[in-house]
Symmetry: C2
Subunit: 255 residues, 2 copies
């Protein structure tokens, strides 16, 4: 009888344990209902930023900050960026009859294309706070931005083909030496020119400033085979490159 | 004793039931590992199509057909499209000083913008089979494509503002009457012109054909306030509209 009782008690606790596990799962599912609606909403926000349907946002919607943070630090973000770089490689394998006259050119954006600003945004609200240029620029002064590993590899592949590399960034001119240090520290070298925003470019929107820079290059006879950037303002506008590639970035918008 | 035995048996079966449920969960988790890597890959493929980094694909990668089918029939696809339409609404609320001279214009693409081809692709491999124009066109002849509900609503909102609506589609001219019937059957009416591909347009790529159609409109004095389409070839090229909106579509690519 006593042994039976022990057996019943043991079975009962096991059952309670398993039932509790199932209850947790059920509870999780209920919570997941609301979470899944929020995920739906934030995913729609993000995809419409990438489609360039949502423009000129100043902050990530508060309720989506965690979602965007999760995405921008996820293996999905890395896979998405890597796939973009793979497509550049595919394009380069067949696109271009390089003339070897030193006039074949490729353009890279700097932030979130060659260098990642994610460490900064991790400490500053991950897009949920209005961009503080002063704080961001003092972070840039420290030259501590890591490279985007897959872009770094591609950079050297393009350079090794004999294509001249131009870096057109909306960073201001006073950040030149910090930017050069940062780029070299993480493995970039051998670019032809780093174009930064001078005082005279300050009245222009980013897209216009970058278009003007391309205009100068084409006037000098360069054939721009491609541009890679994380902002639509880096790749749109005239003169156009033969192909453009947009990396994902839903933390901030530069127009 | 017999009652104890019944109790033990009942508890045991309950436990086996719960344990089986847990085993299923564990098993599911293991399978989820591989499934999650595939999801990662297919999601990257899809986002790079939407970013226009992957161009001119003829078929959805075989391993991603189920994923794309799932997305294109999901609440996420609807939410993503609805958000795009919401952004059009937001733009329209402040963008345009309509002059009321009958020259304010808006352009809609037809397939997967006004009408959905998803019922067709459900029966024809969901992008995993090379597009069969003959089969697709005989389906279009039946005028059975459903409306995209949110675009239908927006269509009438734009029309009610006094903006002239132009439908520029890559459907061929012989589908005119079937297309008109289909559009009217599902609730569209009051457009100013439905532009379809004539024989003379056949040698052009879609983007060029659509750009030429816009060129004619601007020559006639129309101000094109916006374009909505599900293909980059509907919204890119010159002359440009003041704003363009891209709906998601990763089943096929028209260049």
């Amino acid at each position: 009888m006593a042994r039976n009782l022990v057996f019943i008690l043991a079975l009962t606790s096991l059952c309670i344990g398993l039932a509790a596990a199932d209850w947790n799962i059920l509870n999780k599912k209920l919570k997941n209902g609301a979470a899944s609606r929020l995920k739906n909403y934030c995913e729609s926000w993000r995809i419409n930023v990438e489609l360039n349907n949502i423009k000129e946002f100043e902050v990530v919607p508060q309720e989506c900050v965690d979602y965007i943070k999760h995405y921008m630090t996820s293996s999905q973000y890395r896979a998405d960026s890597e796939r973009a770089i793979e497509e550049v490689r595919l394009y380069l394998s067949s696109c271009c009859t390089l003339e070897g006259d030193g006039k074949d050119a490729w353009i890279f954006d700097v932030d979130d294309t060659l260098l990642s600003t994610i460490p900064y945004f991790k400490k500053h609200g991950f897009g949920g706070e209005k961009l503080n240029a002063t704080l961001l620029e003092s972070w840039m002064e420290q030259s501590k931005a890591p490279a985007l590993a897959h872009t770094l590899k591609l950079f050297h592949e393009i350079r090794d083909k004999g294509v001249k590399i131009f870096l057109i960034s909306s960073r201001i001119e006073t950040l030149r030496s910090a930017t050069v240090d940062n780029l070299i520290n993480v493995g970039y070298h051998g670019w032809s020119s780093l174009i930064l925003r001078g005082l005279e470019d300050d009245f222009m929107k980013v897209q216009q400033y970058k278009s003007e820079a391309r205009k100068r290059l084409t006037k000098e006879g360069y054939r721009i085979w491609g541009i890679i950037g994380d902002q639509w303002s880096s790749v749109e506008g005239l003169p156009a490159a033969k192909r453009t590639f947009k990396l994902p970035n839903s933390i901030y918008y530069l127009s």
